[in-house]
Structures are given as C-alpha cells and as structure tokens.
Amino acid sequence: MWGSPGLLLTLALHPALAVAPARDYCVLGAGPAGLQMAYFLQRAGRDYTVLERAPGPGSFFARYPRHRKLISINKRYTGRSNAEFNLRHDWNSLLSHDPRLLFKHYSAAYFPDAGDMQRYLGDFAGRLGLRVQYNTTVLHVALDKDRRAWNGHYFVLTDHKGRVYRCRVLLVATGLSVPNRVDFPGSEHLEGYESVSVDPEDFVGQNVLILGRGNAAFETAENILGVTNFIHMLSRSRVRLSWATHYVGDLRAINNGLLDTYQLKSLDGLLESDLTDLAILKDREGKFHVTLKFFVEEAGTNQSADAVTLPQDDSDNFAMRVAYDRVIRCLGWNFDFSIFNESLRLSSGSEFSRKYPLIRASYEAKGSRGLFVLGTASHSVDYRKSAGGFIHGFRYTVRAVHRLLEQRHHGVAWPATQHPITQLTSSVLRRVNEASGLYQMFGVLADVILVQENATAFEYLEEFPTQMLAQLESLTGRRARHGLFVVHMEYGRNFSGPEKDVFFYDRSVGHTEDAWQSNFLHPVIYYYRHLPTEQEVRFRPAQWPLPRPTAIHHIVEDFLTDWTAPVGHVLPLRRFLENCLGTDLRSFYAESCFLFALTRQKLPPFCRQGYLRKQGLASTESLRRHGVESGLMQDHAAAGQHLRDRGQQPGDRRPV
C-alpha cells in the first residue's frame, strides 16, 4: 500500500513523474556514439530518443581539439573496392547503410578538420532522420524502482526546464567532458588546454611549461614550437608512442615534433615527475617557478613567493630552475559523474581507469542494470589496448550493445548465418580478410563460430565481446553445445609497449611454422570444445585475451594483411579446423566424389554436402591436367589406354 520510502522520495522530487510516458530507450548525448546507437535503434524500429545539450550534434568538435586537426586518419584510397575492408582504414565514419555517409566525402585531408566532423555528424543525424532532441540539458538522472519495468526500474531524467523523461533503458554517450585537474599549491596559476590561447603570436619569446604528455599536450606544443624560447613538458610517466604501443590514444607521430627537437639538442625537453609533489610559485614579475609542495608547506602560507625554497637552492643544476612565462595544463578528461544520482551506483573504475565509469565487458554499468555506457566513456573496457575509446572502435561496440539489447528485450537473437561445414574455411577467410570490426577492435570483439552437432554445419556470429564469452548463450540466444571457434586478431604478445623497439631486425615472420611468433596484427583462432565458464574467463592466464583453448591457431602475419595465400595461409588454417573437428574439409571434384561414393562408406563433407546433393563441382580439362601432374588426381583415361595396349598381347605383363 505504502510503497518504499525511496519511491516516495522520488515521487516527491518529481511531481510530474506520474504523467511522464516511458520511453524504451533514452540516449544521452548526440555525439558520434549517441548517433551511432540512434541509427541502430531507428533501423530496428525501436522507441527511442536522443537528448542533446547543444543545439546540434557533435558539439564537442565545435571546440575540440583546440587546434582543429583531428588525428584520426581519413584514408580515402586503399586500392580496394570492398566497402567492409575499407572501413579498416576509415577512422571517422559511423556505420550506416548509406554509402554517402562516409567521411571521405566530407574532407580531403588525411588528418581532417574538426569542423568537417561536426558537419558530418549533422548530416548523419539529418539524412537518417534520427530523433534527437537538441537544447536539452539533462541535469539529473535517478532510478524509479518498478518491478514491471524491463530492468526492475525506470531511469528518470530531468532536464534544465524541469521536464522529466522515464526510460526503460538508458544509454549514456556523454563522452569525457570534465577537464582533469591536479590540485597542488599554485595550480591556480595554470592555464587549461580548454581555454589556453591557440594563437602562436601570444607565445612569442616565452618560456613555456606544459603539464601532461598526451596528444593534447603535444598538439599544444606543436602549435607554438616555432615561436617559444623553449617548451618543457612535465608528466609522471614516460612518453608512450602509439607506434610502439599500437594504441591510437598514445602519442601519434603527427604530434611528435617536440620529441624531434628535444632529441636533436634543441632547447625543448621532456621531464618526468609526479605532479602531485609539485608547487608553482609566481614571482613579482609574474614569472612562474617550479618547486616542491614540501617546500611550500614548510614555508607556511603567509610567506611571499620569493621566500619559498626552490630546488635549485640545494641542488644548483635542478632541471626546471628557469622561470616560466606560462604553465599550461593538458591532463586529459574525465567522465561527468555529477548528474547521476547515487542510487545508480555509477562509480568510477579502479585507479587505472578512474576517469571512466565502472562497466562490464557488455558495456552495462556494474551498478545498475539497463544502464549502458557507449562511446569514449566506455573505454575502460579496452583502455590502452584497443580502439574502444575512438570512433573507429566504438562504432562496433555500440552495434554489439544494440545486438545484446535486441536479444534481451525483443527476443531477436544475435544475427547469425548458417552454413554447411564445407564453408567453414571460407567463412573464416572471408572475415579475417575484410572484417573491419575485428580489425579495429582487435582483442575486444571476436567472431564466434558455433559448431552444430556432428560438425556438419555451423552458425557464424560476428563481433561478439570476447570477455562475455561465458554468457554467450544468454546474451545471443544461440546454443553452443558442440564446440566453438573464436576468431579474432592480435598483435604479438611481447611486441607492444612504450619501451619496445618495434623496428627490430627480424620483427616479422614469414613461415607457417613460426606463425605463433607473428608480431603484427594477425588473425588468431581459438577452439573450445565447451563454452568457457565465467571462472575460466576471469582467471585466464595473464596477458591472454581469452581462457586457454583446446587448440589455437595463428595465421601467419602478412605484410599486405591479405590472408589468402593457398599454402601459406589457407592450408594451415584448414588443417587446424580439420584437426579440431576430426573431419576432412578438403574440396573435391565430382569425379573424385564419384569414386569415393562407390568405394568408401564415409564421404568427406564436401562430397556429402555437394556432390551427393547433385551439386558436385565439375572439373575442366585444364584443371584435370594439373591435377594429374600434381599427383593428387589419377589419370584414369590414360590408365585405360595402357590397359588396352596390354590387352593385345595376352599374358604379357610388361610395364609400358
């Protein structure tokens, strides 16, 4: 009768609640991830709305990056017409059925301008007719428990005008919007990346200290490198070059001009120190001095800046003993937790990923069912590993989330294609050679092949989050009772890292036997006789993306990422698949099947599923000749010729 106190409280807070109709899906934010989700919801005919604070989509790109150059490559030419393959090298487009909505039509620049991205997102939302409610700032999100709701509660959103939205599922795609600040004495003197001048004229002849070592810090440095006296760059950890870590979020070569000048004995330089131990002092001339927090605390609060001990007083060659004209903070961004009521338990992750909300590998918040985090904010799943924090990665994870939702709330099983087992090698080959989701989200999304009983057929599921493998059956609505293959892509296990030399001699292997030592991104196929359990996934060996499989196969890395070589790639793959399934996956011409049909009890699947169903593969004269030459096929007609010759001399058994 009385309901819970919590409900009463919520009711009291939201007088309009009773009348607000519930929507199935609410998407927070009309950035790339929000629009991508809206696209899938729209195509599936779902009830959804996107709520966006700004008057148009992609408002982040209106200001950021400050220097306007996106570092996501806009590769317009690959020499290939395969649209799926081309997405492997397209870092900006969202997924859609409309080929006009490819980013390459929006910019000719390899590193495009942020304004083009905003224009692109505007077209994406507009052309596809996505339902976005602009100029709506959601100020508060709370839970309303209701046992009849899909997830046991509604998400109740309140906007700046006090309007209330009740949502069955909440999809948070708000990105990382709060600049990361470090608190230390003198941090009030810092200028932030979000507001610092981008006009190099303002830095002429100045000494500049930049805190941070991400792409924003280097982008800022790059802009003023030519006009400053010098730039010092300070951060806790060593520089991480993306070409060494294979992580696109690390420092990209396009921004690394300062590294070049530093190492070529120019005045610029990099320093490592824990920022929380620092203090910045402003002297009478308005210049900044770096000292230690410890000295400031020792001196007491009332001391003037000049009285505080500086490190160089003790150690006269202290590196940062020079006075700076400016100190700029470029320390990255955090997720905006402020609008979420505590009842959502949307806490931040571990020390390693404090800037992100805590979510599962299915992108659902650990704290509340039905709340999914999409886009950049969901990067805790593969932070510093894969591309999930970037458009070219999260466009696939958003699709995965949508597929999970379709199964959970609408009974639409994860899309799968059924094939006879004879197509197994081809299916794997097709995907490893063109699939963009596997390529971009390497190590995170994987194709799953569910073998059917007696290994006569299989189901092929694309781009399933590998970490959720144990829950595959409930998440996809498909059965994995007779073994499964997991196809995904990996770099060599010890290849990536900030300290690694990725250009060492012999860095690549070419031989099939050495395939497991491949370093560059290459397909790896895991075979499990049984679906791994949650325990097995959680306690998998360190550095392994998946639990220990029954068998594993690496397709040897390829310089052209073209894994179709008949002997180098296809043959070893086929043998692996055959070994796992205990079956023969070779293909045969009808003539061979004919021979087998009359001389064997068990036929290879290719003959059983093709020839015996009157769909045998005929050979041609030329192919037959090659077959005989290779020794794989018998020349029965020629054998007959000899037979007849012999027949003319009865009893004569000499070889001809």
Partner: protein, 748 residues
C-alpha cells in the same frame, strides 16, 4: 624407428672422427725461409705462409690455416708457416707487414700466390689450393659457348661433371674440388660461377649451387645432346662422390637370381633397386622399357632386368616389377605397375617418405604441413597464370549490379577470387558463356564478392560460389544443380520456357507430349510432364504449379485444364487430377494419378519418375540413383553394353526380380574413373565386362558375379538368390574408412 637409429649412429661416428682428428691434427710447422725451402720435395705440393716474425701469432687467417693442415695433408700437400727473420731475407717475405701472402709450390716451383684475404677460412684454403693444382682437370668457364664447346669436345670420349657454385672458396666449391681430385682423371670437371650460364641450361633455383652429370661418353653423334642429370642433394663431398659413383655405374644390369640377394653398386650406395620382370617372349620390349626407366631413375635407384624364365625363386604370377628398398633386411615388394610413370612415382614416393620420416623427428607439426592435399586448391593454383576469356561475361560492380539485373534476364555468378572452388567453377561458367555466345538472351554476369562484399550480402549470398538467375518480374532463383558446364547450360536452356507451360488446347497438349512443341529442349530434359486438371480443381492445380516452379530449369512441366481435358484423361486412361509423363527417348507416355498430393510430393514423384530403369551411371547422375538407398547392381563395361547383357537385366527388371536393387551399368569409355573403382575393389583391373553388387548402405560390401559364368537371366537369378542367403563372402574387404590426414597445433 629404423631411420632414427641410423641417424643416431651417424652422429656417433662423426663424433669419434672429430676426436681422432683433434688428437692427430698436425700442428702447423713454423720454419725459417731457409728451413722451409730445404724441406721441399720435387713434385710435391706445399703451401707456405710467409709472415714477419713479430706479427701476431693469431689471426683469422692463421686459424683457418691451422684447420686446413690436415685436409691438405690428405691430398699430399704440406703446409707451413714461414717466419721471415731479419737475418734471412727472402723475396717471398714482403716489405709491408700487412701485405703478407701465401704461396703454393710444387717442388720448388711457384704455382700461385694468394693474398691472405682470399683464403678466408678452411674451406677457402682447401678449395683454392686444389683449384690451383687441378688446373687441367677442372676447367673454369664463363659463357654458355664455353660449355657447348667443352661438351662437343668430349662427346664419345668422357663424361662431364658440370657445377655451378656461387663463389670460389665456398664450401660447395671445396666439395667439387675434392671430388675433382678423385674423379678428375676419369671425368672432365667444368666449373662456373656465372648465374647466366646456369640459367642457360634451364635451372630454376639459381640461389643454390648445382651439379650436373653430362653423359657425353655414350654420345657418338655430334648433333646429339649429352644427357644431363641434376644432382638433387646438397653439394657435399660425400654426396658428390655417391652421385658420380652412381652415374658411372652401368645403366641397366640383367640378373637372373632372387632379388632378395641381388646387390649392386646402387644398393651399396644406399639406393633402392627396381627390377623389371621380363620373360623370353617380351625380352626386347622389356629391355627398352627398363632402359627408359633407368634413365628416369638415374641417381635415384638402380634398375635391373630380371629374367623370369631362368629364375628359380618364386615371383608372384602378376608381379611385373620388384622393388627392393635401400634399407637392409626389408623384404622386397612385388608390384603390378602398368606404366613407367607409376614405377617412377612409386620409387620417388618411397624415397620421399623416408626423408620425411627423418625430418619428422624434430618437427612436431608433421611433415606435410605445407604440402597441398586439396585437389581443387592445388589445380586452381597451378592454373592461375592461364588467361581465361573473362570478357565473355559481364563483370558487375556495386554501381552496375542493380541496373544490369533489372535491364535484362541475367545469370549472376557470385564468387570470391581467393576461393579455390569459386575459381574452379568460374572456368566452367566461362565455358558456358563461350557456348552460348550470340545465341542466348540470357546475360551471363559475375561479381567478385571479395571486392563487392556488400552487394553479395544484400543479395543474401554469404557462401561461394552461388549462381542466381534474375528475370524481370520474378524473384531471383538460385541454381541448385551441379557446378559444371553441362548442367548449367541445361539449366539456362530449360529456363527459356515458363514453368509450368500453360497448354491451351488438346492439339498443343499432344504436340507437347510427343516432343514436338519444344524439340530443341528435349536433349536437356529426359521427360516432359503434363499436369491434367479439370477447370474446377483449383487447389490441385495450384499444388502442381508450385511443383512446376520448383522444377524450373530441371524438368519440363506443362499444365492443361481446358474444358475438354477429359479427352486426354480418357485417352491415357487416368482419372483426374493426373500427371502424364512423356519419356521421349523411349517414346513412351506414362500416366500417374494425383490425389491430394502436395507440391513437395509432386516434385518427389516427378524426380523419381524421371529416373531410368537401367541407366548408364555417370559422374553426374549417380547421386540421383544413390538417393534410392538400394544396393547397386552394376555392370562395368569397356565400351557400349552388350545387348544380351542388357536384355538379361531388363528382363529381370520386368519380372520384378531386381526391385531390391538399383540395376545400372557403367561405360569405362565415358566414365574412366570407373577404372579407379575397379582397382579399389580388386586391386588390379579384372576382365570386363564385370557385374558386381555394391552394397553401400549396409556394411559397404562388394560382390562380383563369377567371371566363368555367362551373364544370363538364369545365372544372374541364381547368383542373386545365393547372395541374398549370404552364402558368398564379399570379395572386397570393408571399404576404406575416411582417412585422417591433417595436423595442427594443440595447446598442451
């Protein structure tokens, strides 16, 4: 096991040899110039390194020289280090410390001087010294003309050992020189380092050293070429020695003793022996065959002619080849091989397997990891460079696909350029296009899904290859027949008419049934089916129409439901609704009543009815007959069937004695693979014609009709009766189970 033991033993002997070598190794004598020149003996070669007394006592060169002392001594060449002391000057003592040289003397005559950097290691020292000493025995050439003139000069006189090494002083060069030291007097050695020269004689892999034996001695006609035999093993002293020995051994030996006890040079050298069994009557022909085999196997096996007539040992009657493996104590194999190629391949395969086993010991992944065993993949790969007339078909792209298939009736082949099965079928597809060129309204197109994956996915194509037919106003139809020229052609031709054909009058129906309406299509469809319905039988007609559509492109179907349909039903004595089935070949029209038959069953009915009672089995039609799940009564015939045999079987069929079997026959001329089947059943080809019962579905057993009986109704009847009571034992063992043949990496 055997081979592993052998390898092990070799290892031990090598170790012992090394120990012996170390202890006996003469140290390099260090002499003064005077001492050195006083030790020189006339006619004896010696290598001396002159160095300054104060030069360092170790250097890379000296190390090599130390190593070379013993091998050079084996060839009677002494080695010394001569220290140039101040008191004794010699003109061989250079002025400059860095310009010291080594000198080769014969007696006290200087033959050559070597800068020390050419003698970079032991191999280089031995190779250079022998090369200098064997100036006459080893001819160094640089052009193909040189080789030609050397060849011409030696025809009829001596054989040539021609070798290519990448550089002078390499281990291969040393091996050749060492061989030349031994065989230089009996063969002419010719050496080159020119790649172009090697290419000119047709070698493909020029990365490695090569050695050929030119059989010039037997060549008496100057216009004739010397036979060139390539040594396939790596160039080591031991291999070259064995190779030359086998080359010099007699080509063909005649023996008349038990092969088990025969031993020739080849056998002693670790090569297998091949005996060609001969008899008086065919001696000349056999000898020619044996010589031919011997040439082909030169260097791989010894070939002997075994005279059966004068032999007491027991050789199985059928055997025409005896194979004796190189391993001692392995019993000889008696083989029946029908041509030279199979002898060669038998030898090569057996030698090959032996090598593989040795490799396999330290290779867990198995020996055949990169040997292609997929016949489709291999043949397509081997054929990759042949240009297909692809222009006979229209290549579609994302941009042209929809417009093309909408503009005209089109056949689309969806394929993937990287998939072997696709590419094999593409050849047949192009053949079809060539055959239809200019005669068909059907546009033959293709789309490579490796390039246009989205188009293929949109057309619901996710496997390859797939053929779809697009016709205006109709849903696309997937082709479900055999992936070959004939069947696809038939499908296209039969698709020229509608399914089912709407027959409008009795006259037209009669024309249809008598094959006059679609004369040009009769060769593609063995039967024409006509559905007869009274105008009121709407559901039955709909079912039939659906069945007709399902058979579209495979069996001609027509439908008649005019008011006067009773005329037809009366004529063919059938109640409506009914099917009339016209077998054009036999000129027969059968009638089948249709009562409450669903479309699916009608399809089945027509499919079954279009089977023949005593068909000639072919690769194409076997699956249709296997579907009946009955044992096959199969007559193998080398050519057309004997009419009496045909009559006997047909009579049995009419008398319903063969209802539990599928009687059929196979013409080896049309279906040569039948020979492979007979070989599998009987190991050798039995006399033909031959009648067998093949029971695939229970136990996989094969029974042969006794060859001493004539194939008549009576004999057949009693034989089948006996078979049924299972008196006879099957002549063939249970058929082969599927072989496992693959390998992979399993995680421990």
């Amino acid at each position: 096991m055997c081979s592993s033991f052998r390898v092990f033993r070799v290892g031990i002997s090598f170790v012992t040899m090394c120990i012996f070598y170390k202890s006996a190794a003469n140290s390099l004598p260090e002499l003064s110039p005077h001492e050195y020149f006083s030790t020189l003996q006339p006619g004896k070669a010696s290598l001396a390194y002159f160095c300054q007394a104060d030069s360092p006592s170790t250097s890379v060169f000296l190390e090599g020289l130390h190593e070379a002392v013993r091998p050079l001594q084996d060839y009677g060449i002494s080695v010394a280090k001569v220290n140039c002391i101040k008191e004794e000057t010699s003109r061989y003592c250079g002025k400059d410390k860095d310009l010291m040289k080594a000198y080769l003397f014969r007696g006290n005559i200087l033959l050559r001087e070597f800068p020390t950097d050419t003698l970079f290691d032991e191999n280089a020292i031995v190779a250079h010294v022998l090369f200098a000493l064997l100036f006459n025995e080893v001819k160094y050439i640089t052009t193909p003309e040189d080789l030609q003139s050397a060849e011409n000069a030696l025809k009829g006189k001596a054989n040539i050992v021609f070798s290519y090494v990448r550089a002078i002083g390499t281990p291969e060069h040393r091996a050749v020189m060492e061989a030349a030291f031994v065989y230089g007097t009996t063969c002419q050695f010719v050496l080159t380092t020119e790649i172009a020269l090697l290419e000119s004689i047709g070698s493909e892999e020029i990365e490695y050293a090569h050695l050929y034996f030119f059989h010039c001695k037997p060549v008496l006609d100057l216009t004739q070429e010397c036979r060139r035999i390539l040594m396939e093993q790596p160039l080591t002293t031991l291999n070259i020695d064995l190779f030359i020995k086998t080359m010099n051994a007699p080509l063909l030996t005649e023996v008349a003793e038990d092969p088990q006890h025969v031993s020739t040079v080849h056998f002693q050298l670790g090569l297998p022996l091949v005996f060609i069994v001969s008899q008086q009557a065919t001696y000349e022909a056999d000898k020619r065959t044996a010589e031919w085999v011997a040439w082909r196997l030169l260097g791989k096996a010894g070939v002997l002619l075994l005279l059966r007539d004068s032999l007491e040992a027991n050789i199985p009657q059928h055997a025409n080849v005896v194979f004796k493996r190189a391993e001692k104590g392995v019993p000889v194999e008696f083989l029946v091989l029908h041509d030279v190629d199979s002898i060669i391949s038998h030898v090569e395969n057996n030698v090959h397997i032996e090598e593989k086993q040795e490799d396999g010991e330290d290779d867990v992944e198995g020996p055949d990891i990169d040997i292609q065993d997929d016949e489709v993949a291999e043949t397509v790969y081997r054929d990759r460079k042949r240009q297909l007339p692809l222009e006979l078909t229209v290549e579609l792209t994302e941009e042209t696909f929809n417009a093309t298939v909408m503009a005209s009736d089109s056949l689309v082949l969806f394929y993937a350029g990287w998939q072997a099965v696709s590419m094999a079928f593409l050849q047949s597809y192009i053949d079809v296009a060539a055959k239809l060129k200019g005669t068909s309204t059907m546009l033959l197109t293709r789309i490579n899904c490796a390039d246009w994956t989205d188009v293929c996915t949109k057309q619901n194509v996710t496997e390859f290859p797939v053929v779809k037919m697009y016709k205006e106003g109709e849903n696309p139809v997937s082709y479900a027949g055999m992936l070959g020229t004939e069947d696809l052609l038939k499908f296209i031709q039969l698709n020229r008419i509608s399914y089912p054909v709407n027959i409008t009058s009795i006259q037209e129906a009669e024309q249809y049934l008598h094959g006059e309406l679609y004369k040009d299509l009769l060769s593609y469809s063995s039967v024409s089916v006509l559905g007869l319905f009274s105008p009121t039988m709407i559901t039955a007609k709909e079912d039939f129409t659906e069945a007709g559509r399902a058979l579209k492109g495979y069996v001609i179907t027509g439908v008649y439901s005019g008011e006067d349909v009773l005329i037809l039903s009366n004529k063919y004595a059938v109640t409506l609704p009914a099917l009339l089935l016209a077998r054009h070949k036999e000129g027969r029209i059968e009638s089948i009543p249709l009562a409450n038959t669903h479309a699916h069953d009608i399809v089945q009915l027509i499919t079954d009815a279009s089977l023949e009672t005593f068909p000639e089995i072919t690769v194409e039609n076997l699956p249709s007959y296997l579907r009946l799940q009955k044992p096959l009564l199969m007559l193998f015939s080398d050519g057309s069937i004997n009419p009496q045999h045909e009559k006997a079987v047909l009579t049995m069929v009419e008398q319903k004695h063969l209802d539990s079997l599928t009687p059929c026959w196979l013409n080896l001329k049309n279906t040569p693979v039948g020979r492979g089947i007979l070989k599998a059943y009987f190991d050798t080809l039995p006399p033909l014609p031959l009648l067998v019962v093949v029971n695939l579905h229970s136990g996989g057993r094969v029974f042969a009709f006794p060859s001493d009986q004539a194939i008549t109704e009576q004999n057949l009847f009693s034989w089948l009766k006996k078979l049924r009571s299972r008196i006879r034992n099957p002549i063939s063992k249970c058929l082969l189970a599927l072989m496992q043949h693959s390998s992979g990496v399993f995680v421990p």
